[in-house]
Symmetry: C2
């Protein structure tokens, strides 16, 4: 870029994550340009990820959610910010947008050289009676947040949240924090749909521990007003009466402008863009929750409404508009949830996605502590790795537990971005002091387990494969834990022979059938498998051990 480039007329539709990032970046690149932001709402660049926590009074001061204001954007970045101004159409030939001032109804045309569409995505209201009632809320903007909070402030005895995804769960946490009895209705048999089901067990447990009335596998079929309150009717015939109903079942890209303008749209409604965030019109770019982007792991088109990618896409679109050679690499859907002190995080491909795509994959489970167990305060977690068994490439990872989950998923997110393999994870060199990690970090352990499977050193079955067999056709199942662990609970049909006695009691085991070995988390089972195979038995380890069995059984 030349530092004295002639400016352009840049118009941006939407002033939150992608739009605001694009505008400030554009200003840095071009002092001479006229940059106009149209925002339908009254606020720009607010911290929408913080809204549940203001409802919960965790972020008590509402003004903290204003990352910046129209005034600040004008003053510091010389941006022409027009709030409560809705862009209602695009004239691609004339290169103008039609704008309606919401306060006055006045309409006018605004010319552009380049146009960036960043209107975001709108919460979806399911097509059931009552979903549109006033007082049945969604949570998209500060106005929604204020209305929900005011309802809570007035005092309610119960809330119903429809949808157990990120926003639904964050709302549940914050309502419980406000002492509101809360019902969570989720049509799937698990919360947090992007996770594989067994990984959600700790979330289910923590919801139960916090007295959340959890209705999995259920859908609302109607919402009926009853005075100031509502009756939510579910598909099992039950009803819940509540002072607050919030719908959080997903979002849809706000594609109306783009559709009307004839821009290319993907099958799920997102605006099609190339790697420079350019739409099918060379003078129109799009960024944020409104676009269809590309999964960086498998390459398929995806729609991922996340704040991080939206911010980076906005910045990158500004770069492209001002002639930078940039390419959005795609998204890997890295996300994290905090729920009553339990953390769940994921990046890349889940097992269910891999299965749905019909690709070859393998999994590894470990249950490590977040730092050395000998140092006080170590918290447990479960990590699951999805990898390609042909070359060991890391495809995805999920973690759930206490402290340190987000760290491991961030590390694995970078490993996925870098196309690393499980052999690289074996050799990773991460921070170790007893308060921070382990000499063999959980990341190394994941590498050891997965690489052992690939090298054939450590023959494993996934617990999922084992449990998919009818109990009578399962292999001989050998619990190598101690008798007291065995007595406290084991896999039905398993026989106990502690690993430390294995070498002297080999004669008790069958020579003529496969043996599925397991312990608590997988380590003793691994050693036992090695001992058995070297003595001629057809043994394999059940990856992740009894703890992984419990996840599958109870999730």
């Amino acid at each position: 870029m030349s530092d004295n480039a002639k400016g352009i007329d840049l118009v941006i539709v939407g002033g939150v994550a992608a739009g605001a990032s694009a505008a400030t970046r554009a200003r840095r690149l071009s002092e001479a340009s006229r940059i106009v932001i149209f925002e339908r709402g009254p606020d720009v660049s607010f911290a929408n990820c913080g809204m549940p926590y203001h409802i919960g009074d965790v972020i008590a001061d509402r003004s903290k959610l204003a990352i910046t204001t129209p005034e600040r954007l004008r003053e510091r970045f010389a941006l022409d910010v027009r709030v409560r101004s809705e862009v209602i159409s695009i004239d691609r030939r004339a290169k103008t947008v039609r704008v309606r001032e919401l306060a006055t109804g006045r309409e006018y045309d605004q010319p552009y050289d380049k146009l960036l569409l960043a209107p975001g995505a709108a919460p979806f209201r399911p097509p059931i009676p009552g979903a549109d009632l006033p007082g049945v809320h969604v949570l998209r903007d500060l106005g929604d947040m204020d209305r929900i909070r005011q309802t809570v402030d007035r005092g309610i005895d119960r809330a119903v949240i429809l949808g157990g995804g990120f926003i639904g769960l964050e709302l549940v946490e914050n309502l419980v924090h406000r002492q509101v009895a809360t019902t969570l209705v989720e049509r799937n048999e698990q919360v947090l749909g992007p996770l594989d089901r067994e990984m959600t067990l700790p979330l289910k447990r923590t919801l139960e521990q916090h007295q959340v009335d959890l209705r999995l596998g259920r859908q609302a079929i109607a919402i009926e007003p009853r005075g100031e309150r509502f009756v939510v009717r579910l598909d099992d015939g039950s009803t819940i009466e509540a002072g607050l109903v919030v719908i959080g079942v997903g979002v849809r890209p706000e594609n109306a402008l783009a559709v009307a303008a004839g821009l290319e749209i993907g099958p799920r409604g997102g605006i099609r863009v190339d790697r420079t965030m350019r739409t099918s019109d060379p003078d129109i770019y799009a960024a944020g929750d409104v676009v269809e982007t590309r999964d960086d792991v498998m390459g398929q088109p995806v729609q991922v409404p996340l704040a991080g990618p939206a911010n980076r896409q906005g910045r990158l679109a500004a770069d492209a508009i001002f002639g930078r050679e940039v390419q959005f690499r795609g998204t890997q859907a890295t996300a994290v949830l905090g729920l009553f002190g339990t953390t769940a995080a994921l990046t890349g491909l889940s097992e269910k996605q891999a299965e749905a795509m019909g690709i070859e994959y393998a999994t590894a489970f470990i249950h490590p502590m977040h730092h050395a167990g000998y140092y006080p305060g170590a918290e447990g977690m479960t990590l699951k790795l999805v990898f390609d068994p042909r070359d060991g490439r890391v495809l995805g990872a999920q973690g759930v537990g206490g402290a340190g989950v987000d760290k491991r998923i961030d590390v694995l997110a970078i490993a996925i971005q870098a196309r690393m393999t499980v052999f690289d994870l074996e050799q990773s060199e991460l921070c170790y002091a007893p308060q921070f990690g382990s000499a063999k970090d959980p990341i190394n352990m994941l590498g050891f387990v997965a690489a052992g499977l690939m090298r054939g050193d450590h023959p494993q079955w996934s617990m999922r494969r084992y449990l998919s067999l009818p109990i009578e056709t399962r292999p001989y199942s050998l619990d190598v834990r101690t008798p007291s662990e065995f007595t406290a609970g084991t896999i039905p049909g398993a026989v106990n022979l502690p690993v430390d006695e294995l070498r002297s009691r080999l004669n008790e085991l069958p020579q003529d059938r496969p043996i599925a070995v397991f312990c608590q988390v997988g380590q003793r089972g691994y050693l036992a498998t090695r001992i058995l195979r070297q003595n001629g038995f057809d043994a394999f380890n059940l990856g992740g051990g009894y703890r992984t069995y419990l996840l599958h059984r109870d999730a």
Copy 2:
């Protein structure tokens, strides 16, 4: 590997990190082998990184430091563990080692097919009078730990720690925790030598806040007994009287066996090994603190006594001994320290190493919060990136601050392992929810700053370069913060013009000389630099702003 391979005679010298890892791995690979571990001390596989915390009573239960016991290794892994048995020589032709039982003095020869040397490194005692006195401690094994703890338990009024590296600082923290007034003597002008000096300021501050008597740039020249106590004499003529003296000035590889056996040794005393951990004798391997290994970033030989690499080297040596195709990739010296709640961590190349090597490098500094600032509890940190300005490759990183430092350094450790560039960091997709990170994570911000420098969008000078100039030859220095920030303290000679007034007051600035712009952390300075350059000024930003200036001024 065949699962019914004939066993070998494997002898391992040293039973702690590398030795114990190798032995258990070897057993998994070969049930048929005879595996003998000789350990001079009474303990195997103890948590040496936990020892300072037992002295500090943070890990109150001493038995927690026993990761395993000789009995457990015998029982579970069928290892022949011989403690208090010193290997005193190697007969390479006969393929035997000579062993002395320390309790009885009995000596015998033990044959080997393969020998693994993992004797570790010994604390260095400087050649000054009194360094060898009984009661002048080092901290290598549980016996040392017990002696130090017993001294503290008896009640002492003051301790002197010689050496401000990892172990020295951990000891200081734990002694202060035990209410012992502590003097720390460090011959360099900074603590924690692997860090660049300016990054150590927060450590210095936290030591001062905890009333540690810090003597930087000083060396002990003598230690004199005075009854039950000692007088430590420093090179500035001062003396300190103390009930406890601990030396922690570094370690030396225990190479005597290898030297006597004629194995190749590197210039710093480490045993030379190839990427399979094999020494110059094809039947002898070495692993852990005793070896010279290879820096994975720049490829030069290094000695890095760290638990993580030691454990992985031991495991990998066992793999190689049993015919696996494995290669140790080298080390990148990732390390972390906790000090009174402040965390310091690093990975890869430091600036001073880059300078000493005479290679081209650039730096980026940022001062982010560890999660979204609008969510309660955000803690600050400083991150420093060292990268190659030719291609953007990440060479090293350092972090110091509160929560989340270890996470960012772990992420950057993986980025270094993967040969990532600063452009990759721009596009990293990490966990974001307000309790865990930011929509633009500190990792992204580092990428933005460094990539902006490389693209020429964001002309920067390092603060170091700026401060290396005599004050009268420095560029025109422009503080673009608010008047109140300016008044509270600025860089000597700087003029104040707030960024928000810059566009309207350009006429106040000189057209004929370079302008060094700075703000508090670098962001407003970046915008100001962009405004100025687009208006024809020769402006550049001082990377990391006034906070980075303070690090350089006060460290």
